[in-house]
């Protein structure tokens, strides 16, 4: 049996009377690429927010790398190796691309207030290395040379790439991508599939993505979990999901399936 990097059991999130995530069992084997899909409002992003510590589940447990992360502060979960991007890009606009990436190195850098003011050799060395790593990461995501550009001045596609570079700077074990191809044209989406594989293979990162573009989902993921109205309705390989009756109903509606049949 493959090792589980993430193991969520019976996760339930309620906002008042609204059940956003309904007793979902979900796990991610180490080193895999997994997708979470479902119609709008199915609870996918809420589930992401549980995994990154923004929401504490009403019930249920989440273990990351063998440790429970329920109730742990977001920055601690991030430091332990869960990085994410955002559905609506949330870069630090008035900071340069390199600085954006370097912010995410925060948990790994050691320099203190005193050593920063005194500019100790160790602090200068650390800063230099951090900068080199940032340059390298920007190159890795395909926007090398933009180090000194302000994040808000980058073109949209580059901003998406920068978000991934920033997330990778955390040296994550698990990378959560929230609708990474939103706003991309079909060509960009196609290259994205190879990109995700590169991230997994070269950086050794397990990937979980939320995605609406079915071409991307079917092309990139090894396993797919489908949520509808906060509940898990299907789970399996892309081929299994493609032919799953309930998934087709969720996406196309009942009458549509009858017509197809």
């Amino acid at each position: 049996m493959t090792e589980l990097l993430l193991d969520a059991r019976k996760v339930r999130v309620e906002f008042g009377g609204l059940v956003a995530v309904n007793d979902v069992d979900f796990n991610i084997p180490t080193g895999s690429i997994v997708a979470l899909i479902g119609p709008n409002g199915a609870g996918k992003t809420t589930f992401f927010n549980v995994l990154t510590g923004l929401y504490t589940p009403t019930r249920g447990g989440v273990h990351f790398d063998g440790v429970s992360i329920v109730g742990v502060a977001p920055h601690k979960i991030a430091a332990s190796g869960v990085a994410r991007t955002f559905q609506n890009i949330r870069l630090f606009g008035a900071m340069t691309a390199a600085e954006n990436v370097m912010v995410a190195m925060h948990p790994h850098l050691k320099s203190s207030v005193v050593s920063t003011i005194l500019r100790t050799p160790r602090q200068r060395h650390e800063e230099k290395e951090a900068r080199a790593t940032a340059t390298e990461l920007l190159k890795f995501v395909g926007i090398g040379g933009t180090e000194e550009e302000f994040a808000k001045n980058l073109p949209y596609g580059d901003q998406r790439r920068l978000e991934v570079a920033r997330a990778l700077a955390l040296r994550p074990k698990l990378l959560l991508l929230d609708e990474p191809t939103a706003g991309m044209n079909p060509q960009e989406s196609a290259t994205f599939t190879t990109f995700v594989h590169r991230v997994r293979d070269e950086k050794g990162v397990t990937v979980l993505l939320i995605e609406h573009d079915m071409k991307v989902v079917m092309g990139v993921s090894e396993r797919i979990t489908v949520l509808e109205y906060g509940a898990k309705i299907a789970e399996g390989t892309p081929a299994e999901i493609r032919s799953d009756q309930r998934v087709i109903e969720a996406y196309l509606g009942k009458s549509a399936t009858e017509e197809v049949a």
Binding site: A104, L109, T116, Q159
Partner: protein, 437 residues
């Protein structure tokens, strides 16, 4: 427009820029060292007496401190007066005869206590009370203010923007009241209430006075004579310089990046591993240190600490200085602090005398002070919201914005049919999934 012009003048090569920068610093240093020697600074009724220059430097230090909190970390603090107060009272406690309270000196207090400690102080040994060296007191005041910053910050920094501003405003109002009423705490007199504490000892020269006779400078005296504003000016300039240097280094380091990230997007920062609470508390603590040091120095130059000095208007004036100068820019904060203090201390009075003698009227600008400050702020927001000397960052972002607009009339967001990232909704919750009951 003006900044564009300046930028065109700047040399293109790295070496050229470095030479320009270094010569700029040297020119600034020479100017500051020579400033007290100019004839017009000796004239106390003129536009720029030395005492005003010293106060300008003190307020510039305060503005530098608040700039860390407001400019770097983006936390709106309306209670900066608290740190000023802690610094000033620390100096008053440790550099006066207040610690020696018996018989008539004890005033209303039923309990009497008497400390008699001397440590390298400017005060004569025959004086009773606690008299420590100014330099030691500055360090203690910095620590006290930093701890006060953490104590005030810990419960309040969980709040965001407007709510944080309101609570800090509350603290800024409460603390002076507490000090006003601590003239009698269970019989102990801790602050001397409305009567204030004084006289506070003068600034001593610490270990420097133990040095043998130096060339150029000569033998350094044990303490600064109270009328010697020139030396006092150099002392406060040393603190300002240290704080400018520390601000710049912190800004470019790990902590400064974290502050800016929080200013830009708090939620994203925390998800990138930045501990929000700790990072914000550092901003408060570092900003408070400037308040504490400035407060202690202020106590020594005015000689008597009175609780009426610590009013809400102080916090507002310092905030105005930061906004006027350019949020997030240390040079802007200094410029703002100097300009505002000059108008506050000397400028308005001087201008009204000039105006009245020329026009034959009897008009007092000073009584319209806050109205004028308000007007200036409104005009600034309308015509130059980025401040007198904006942060390089906002200048460059703005410039690039303009270029994007010039190249592409539609703007990027419109072209691809989604909102540009600037107009994204902010704050928690990220996206509620609310389609279904």
């Amino acid at each position: 427009m003006f900044t564009d012009f300046i930028e065109k003048l700047q040399p293109k090569s790295v070496a050229g820029r470095r030479i320009l920068k270094i010569s700029g610093y040297v020119a600034l240093l020479i100017f500051i060292l020579q400033l007290p020697n100019f004839a017009f600074t000796k004239d106390t009724s003129g536009p720029l007496p030395l005492f005003t220059i010293v106060l300008c430097a003190v307020y510039a230090l305060f503005a530098l401190g608040l700039n860390i909190v407001v400019g770097f970390a983006g936390l709106l603090d309306l209670g900066y007066v608290a740190f000023f107060l802690f610094g000033a009272y620390t100096a008053a406690w440790l550099m006066s005869d207040f610690g020696y309270q018996i018989s008539e000196r004890a005033g209303a207090s039923r309990h009497q206590f008497s400390f008699d400690v001397h440590f390298m102080s400017a005060a004569a040994d025959t004086l009773k009370g606690v008299h420590l060296s100014f330099w030691l007191v500055v360090i203690i005041a910095a620590l006290v203010a930093a701890l006060a910053g953490i104590a005030i910050g810990a419960p309040t920094l969980r709040l965001k923007s407007d709510y944080l501003a309101l609570v800090t405003l509350g603290f800024g109002e409460i603390l002076p009241e507490v000090f006003r009423n601590f003239g009698d705490v269970g019989g102990f007199n801790l602050t001397n209430g409305t009567k204030g504490i004084g006289p506070v000892d003068r600034v001593d020269m610490g270990l420097l006075s133990r040095l043998p006779k130096l060339p150029l400078v000569g033998k350094i005296p044990a303490n600064i004579v109270s009328s010697d504003y020139k030396t006092k000016f150099y002392v406060i300039i040393v603190f300002c310089a240290l704080f400018v240097y520390s601000s710049l280094k912190l800004r470019d380091g790990r902590l400064g990046r974290a502050w800016m990230a929080i200013r830009e997007d708090e939620l994203a920062a925390s998800l990138m591993g930045v501990p929000l609470m700790r990072t914000k508390l550092w901003a408060y603590a570092v900003g408070a240190i400037a308040g504490g040091v400035g407060g202690a120095f202020y106590a020594t130059i005015v000689g008597t600490i009175n609780v009426d000095t610590f009013i809400f208007a102080f916090s507002i004036i310092i905030l105005c200085a930061v906004i006027l100068g350019g949020m997030g820019n240390v040079w802007g904060a200094i410029a703002g602090g100097v300009v505002i203090t000059w108008f506050d201390q000397t400028g308005l009075v001087w201008l009204s005398t000039k105006f009245n003698s020329a026009a034959g009227t009897n008009f007092d600008f000073k009584s319209y002070q806050f109205g004028l400050f308000g007007l200036v702020l409104v005009l600034m927001m309308l015509f130059r919201p980025q401040g007198l000397i904006p942060a390089t960052r906002s200048r460059q972002v703005k410039k690039a914005d303009k270029q994007v607009l010039e190249h592409d009339h539609l703007g990027y967001g419109l072209e691809i049919g989604i909102d540009p990232p600037d107009h994204r909704p902010r704050g928690l919750p990220d996206e509620f999934e609310t389609r279904r009951p």
